[in-house]
Symmetry: C2
């Protein structure tokens, strides 16, 4: 870690691979979270015992190849929470990337280094992954644009998995125009100039956030309302956000344990305590607990499609609070994690796309406003982010 | 780790501190498990994040000072399972010390490096700790003499604690004469030449061991019987060895969590998965589970005192099988650990002293015979080990 790389890069994994000349992203640079394969470079996964037992990849991950093929240059691989299990961005092996917008705060995770690199201006965009909030949360904490696309939309080839029924590839940018350019390439779709006709405001989600966060986001919500004009209140999670979060906190770890158990058993890898504890708890989830959680998921998916017909989007705070201080004990972080999941749960549970939009601060700390749309509406959400930025200029 | 140190020593902690001239142990050398303070050297505890937050000690632990004061020279600090939580001796940070008697097998733990150093002839004796079997098990696996003294008998000053109601300081030797010399110093008591008058054979413990281990130990039991002459069968654990083990597997981790929780919370240390998992499980033990376990302990203590009046000792296999292969997945080791605890449980649960005596092999792998006596009978147990060796020569 050097002073000028924001502590964002995996040691020894700062390099440069040029993109194709004259693509739509020519002149842009990007970094890739260390869950993505880059040919000739180890995929570290944020844990020294993952790299140790996995061969160095011989081809790029789909997402890496997509950006290189569009002309962007890859400048390195960024630190992730261990095997993507974390939401704060503190890695006990490789350090905590610096949050340029709030240096005494965590960057958020698990796409911590990617967010930190973009926030520090070291690259224009960066690839992350989002299973339970790992792009959206660092977007909020670092004041960035970030997207979790519709689940199942993008090719996840060469991306290290955590929980397949929730895993997605996402990306960050500092400004709306770059965000739209990159999104158009990744989504393989033009970003429209029109915006959706109807906005629903998730009253339960705003009530769930800290009052000062909800208040600080009101001007952005008002601008969004002015842009879209047809505005109404809605309840995001009728059974309660924490009921949804509880279901996701059964489904996601259960799948994560299926993903990692063979490696964990064979290699007995080293983990920071709070990561190993997550896996130890995951290993104890009974198959019989999954049924009720899957029913909650099924009902949540139906509800979200009803709530979001074509042309409708919903807004909510991305996180209930700005980034916590670095170095807190996990006994202080555990309850914060539970609250973050309460707001971040929709994406992983229902697969809906979500974009986090920067533009507000609480006590000088960034916090994001999110828009969610029905499956496949990713480009419309990016369009909203861009239109809002244009309006605000 | 070099080829000639058996992988037994903590990296950088091979050194030499001379003992007092002309003490009773003059000419002997010893090593200390890295749970014992040695002035000027970090107490690593087998985990890099323990050393990181603990100051370098300025005085020797009582046990280290005791041996130095008696004339033995200290030659270094030995690898331990992380914070003494382990019974096999595989440390993911510092490696697995080699078992000189069975090179493809684990040395046993948590006093793994101390046992390995003595077994390899690198020193004459070595300090270990025994909370739930950490001297007795490596004694059995490496073919050594080893003692777990009466709980509470020795000063544990400067020894890193795990579970105070079970923690003890123990030691190893290759031959009975050295074992007796060191024991006399550590216990501050002459080793008698007479042996106890009555031997009880723990039939349930022999039935609990692998049949080939029980069979292989029979000649040693017969020699012991010939030495002591008054022999009878007895049941070690009337409610069942696994009932006792289950009680200990509540009491010991509960205490260990009290010992380590503040450090774990504040530092979020890295642990191999199976160590972090032990602590994660320990953190989940309810206070209400302790009551029944404490009742089992109380009954076990009364039973053991009844079973072992003055002049009576009991014998049992130290471990139910010889050392397992190195590098097994923990899903294979977990059931072995449970069985080891079934035989090792008496010491930690009841505080009785126990000596493990080498002299038998199964398929070329050492396995030990243990003798247990009432509290304070430590020297008598050492006397038995020495008398048996004399008889066998």
């Amino acid at each position: 870690m050097t002073d000028d790389d924001a502590g964002a890069f995996v040691p020894g994994q700062r390099f440069r691979i040029e993109g194709r000349a004259d693509g739509p992203l020519a002149g842009l640079s990007f970094a890739a979270k260390d869950l993505f394969d880059v040919a000739g470079h180890p995929t570290g996964g944020g844990n020294p015992d993952w790299e140790r037992v996995n061969p160095i990849p011989t081809r790029h991950a789909w997402a890496v190849q997509r950006l290189l093929g569009a002309g962007a240059a890859l400048i390195g691989k960024t630190i992730t929470d261990e095997v993507s299990l974390g939401i704060f961005g503190e890695n006990m092996f490789y350090g905590t990337p610096r949050n340029a917008r709030a240096p005494d705060r965590v960057p958020g995770g698990s796409s911590s280094g990617s967010a930190a690199a973009v926030a520090a201006g070291l690259c224009d965009t960066a690839l992350g992954t989002d299973t339970g909030g790992s792009v959206r949360v660092p977007s909020s904490f670092c004041g960035l644009y970030g997207i979790r696309p519709t689940h199942g939309r993008l090719d996840l080839g060469g991306m290290m998995s955590q929980a397949p029924s929730s895993d997605t590839t996402g990306w960050f940018a500092r400004d709306a125009e770059t965000f739209a350019r990159v999104s158009s390439v990744m989504l393989d779709e033009d970003i429209p100039t029109e915006v959706p006709r109807r906005l629903r405001i998730a009253t339960d989600a705003f009530a769930f956030a800290d009052p000062d966060v909800a208040a600080a986001l009101q001007p952005m919500v008002a601008e969004l309302g002015a842009l879209i004009s047809n505005v109404e209140d809605a309840v995001l999670a009728p059974p309660g956000l924490l009921v949804w979060a509880q279901a996701q906190r059964i489904l996601q770890p259960y799948e994560a344990w299926q993903t990692f158990r063979e490696w964990v058993d064979r290699s007995n890898p080293r983990f920071a305590f709070n990561v190993g504890r997550q896996l130890a708890h995951a290993a104890m989830i009974a198959e019989s607990d999954r049924g009720p959680a899957l029913r909650v998921r099924g009902e949540a998916r139906v509800h979200m499609r009803d709530l979001l017909p074509p042309g409708t989007i919903l807004c909510l705070p991305t996180t209930p609070f700005p980034a916590p201080l670095r170095g807190l004990p996990w006994s202080a972080l555990d309850p914060l994690r539970a609250r973050i999941t309460g707001l971040a749960v929709v994406g992983g549970l229902t697969g809906m796309p979500q974009v986090s939009i920067p533009g507000t601060e609480v006590d000088g700390l960034p916090v994001g406003l999110s828009v969610i749309g029905r499956p496949g509406s990713d480009a419309a959400l990016v369009a909203v982010a861009r239109a809002l930025a244009v309006r605000r200029v």
